[in-house]
Symmetry: C2
Subunit: 347 residues, 2 copies
């Protein structure tokens, strides 16, 4: 699998700085108390191969835990205190990936076979559930000296989880639908992707700052980061290169997903393309020439431009929001670098 | 579906006394914040039909939450304080049922089509996950005035969840295996079924009593109740009547499950039956005459007697254990009645 070891472009410092401390804490939480079950978790986290051989491969970007630790850190908080929540967020993200892959019948993630693809649906389902419990345990065991903080963080995370699942449910309910609006889409992604990202900076801010205003601002920033993240994901799912994303070009179209480019194309030029998109999306399966035709329609409706504009507008907003936060100059620079990455990322 | 309204034998008072207060609290937790998703949950709980029509049908037995409230109550505690945990336990039980049915491809539970059978696997999977988050929320929102108790209860429940999933994982890993021993089986069910039952009385005791000895005794009682419960389940899955269990006679055999009767039959008369059971269990699917033959082997090995003896021995032990608890005479009577029910139950 040569694809799996190709070099990725540099990560922004926010996503690399806490890498080691996070990996250590994650490995500490995903113990090997039950070897044959935990093999799946270690594989999922990118620490080992399917047969249990330790692996030094690329991991996920760790956006959520890094955002949590950075927010806490930049506000002058102790990252040790935020670490259990950061670990919890990363595990919840992985829990949702494992179940998502089952639901979408995704065979590959990050150039590797997905869990259900190797171990079957029932075992993969358990692996997801265990990941979820370990996320709870990370909170409980490590924050037990500060029950109030535990209670606040746990409430935020469980609320985010609920919203995330509701968003995922909306997403699959949209499948096959021809009249999803941009508004409905935005609501869906604010739940599916936004909720957990929002809770990452929200908890980071709660632990890092005693100023309720900081917390409120970061909560808002989190919402916008969520939009940026998912819309950029839709762009990559439509036009991204396989080597970077691990998915073929047009993969979201081939799977007839209601992504923002498609929804926008249907909404903006109703008379011209709505019917044609609906007809193509109602086919049993899409051939290459169908995908090409849909990509042409997206070109004609300037869908890429429209989506990227939205990402950049949210980027401008969060850069503005951050001006109201008492960050050091260094932290402000780090944050800008992260935002630039989220705007342009190709993976 | 006339089966679904048939009358059940009387429940012991422990399982009926808290019914109303539990139902109210459960309905309060499973709100309708997101109608189309929560319809599935209300269906699962037996409150409504698949199309959302409210239903007055038989519910689950509510063993876990009732045990939690009874233990707290009988030890002199305030059941209001234990209610969030009781609700949480019932929701976790339902979460595990929903996912279990997906994994086992069970089409029917309690005479009704299962969730995945109506709404498909992806949506049912979400319903299970939401149930799990609502379980957390029940803890967080209602116990937030007592963070120490929240922390203790949450830890116990998350540990139980982890053990439960590990046990379920062991269970499916055993599938197709011909050499599972009674010891392995006992370890598996102590996780799969025992962990959550144990945590029910454990939390009830923690909230109800300040005496650490009571708590320890109840934790032990919980382990034994778990064994009783699962072994009786295996008996019902092998010889139970459809009208009571909602499953056909011999259903566990037909599905080639490694239940205690089968494991015992393989272990006790190795030379005589081990090979034959293995051969039958390795068939693609079992016909009626295969099931009949296996039932004959279970008769010849006195499997029913062996299993029921185990249930009764555990019953004697818990009755003895309870003598060391400062219960009122009424509570002692209630507990004995519950234990008798668990020994003889036909559903």
């Amino acid at each position: 699998m040569p694809d799996s070891v190709h070099l990725k472009p540099d990560l922004p410092s926010v996503l690399s700085r806490y890498r080691d401390v996070l990996d250590l804490a994650l490995k500490d939480t995903v113990s090997d108390r039950h070897v044959f079950l935990y093999d799946m978790l270690r594989y999922c986290m990118g620490w080992s191969d399917a047969d249990g051989t330790p692996l030094e491969t690329e991991k996920g970007k760790g956006v959520r835990p890094s955002l949590c630790l950075f927010t806490c850190d930049a506000l002058g908080g102790d990252i040790e205190k935020a670490l259990p929540a950061a670990v919890s967020l990363e595990l919840i993200h992985n829990f949702s990936l494992i179940h998502d892959e089952i639901q979408d019948s995704d065979e590959i993630r990050h150039h590797r076979p997905t869990l259900w693809n190797i171990w079957g649906v029932p075992k993969a389902l358990f692996a997801g559930n265990v990941m979820r419990v370990l996320a709870d345990r990370s909170m409980f065991t490590m924050l037990s000296d500060d029950p109030k903080l535990l209670s606040a963080s746990s409430s935020i995370v469980s609320e985010a989880c609920l919203e995330m699942i509701e968003g995922q449910y909306m997403d699959i309910s949209f499948e096959g639908g021809n009249s999803i609006t941009v508004d409905q889409y935005m609501k869906m992604i604010s739940h599916k992707t936004g909720a957990l990202l929002r809770s990452s900076v929200h908890i980071g801010a709660i632990i890092g700052s005693r100023d309720g205003r900081d917390v409120d601002i970061f909560r808002e920033i989190g919402v916008k980061l969520g939009f940026m993240f998912q819309i950029r994901d839709d762009i990559l799912g439509t036009w991204g290169e396989t080597t970077s994303t691990g998915k073929p070009v047009g993969s979201d179209i081939r799977r007839k997903k209601n992504t923002l480019p498609i929804i926008h194309a249907r909404e903006t030029q109703t008379q011209m393309y709505k019917k044609e998109i609906s007809e193509l999306y109602s086919l049993e399966s899409l051939e290459d020439h169908h995908v090409d035709r849909l990509l042409d329609i997206l070109d004609a409706t300037k869908a890429s431009h429209y989506c990227q504009d939205m990402v950049e507008n949210y980027a401008l907003e969060v850069i503005k929001d951050i001006q109201n936060i008492r960050f050091s100059n260094n932290s402000r620079g780090d944050f800008r670098e992260l935002v630039s990455f989220l705007v342009d990322r190709s993976f």
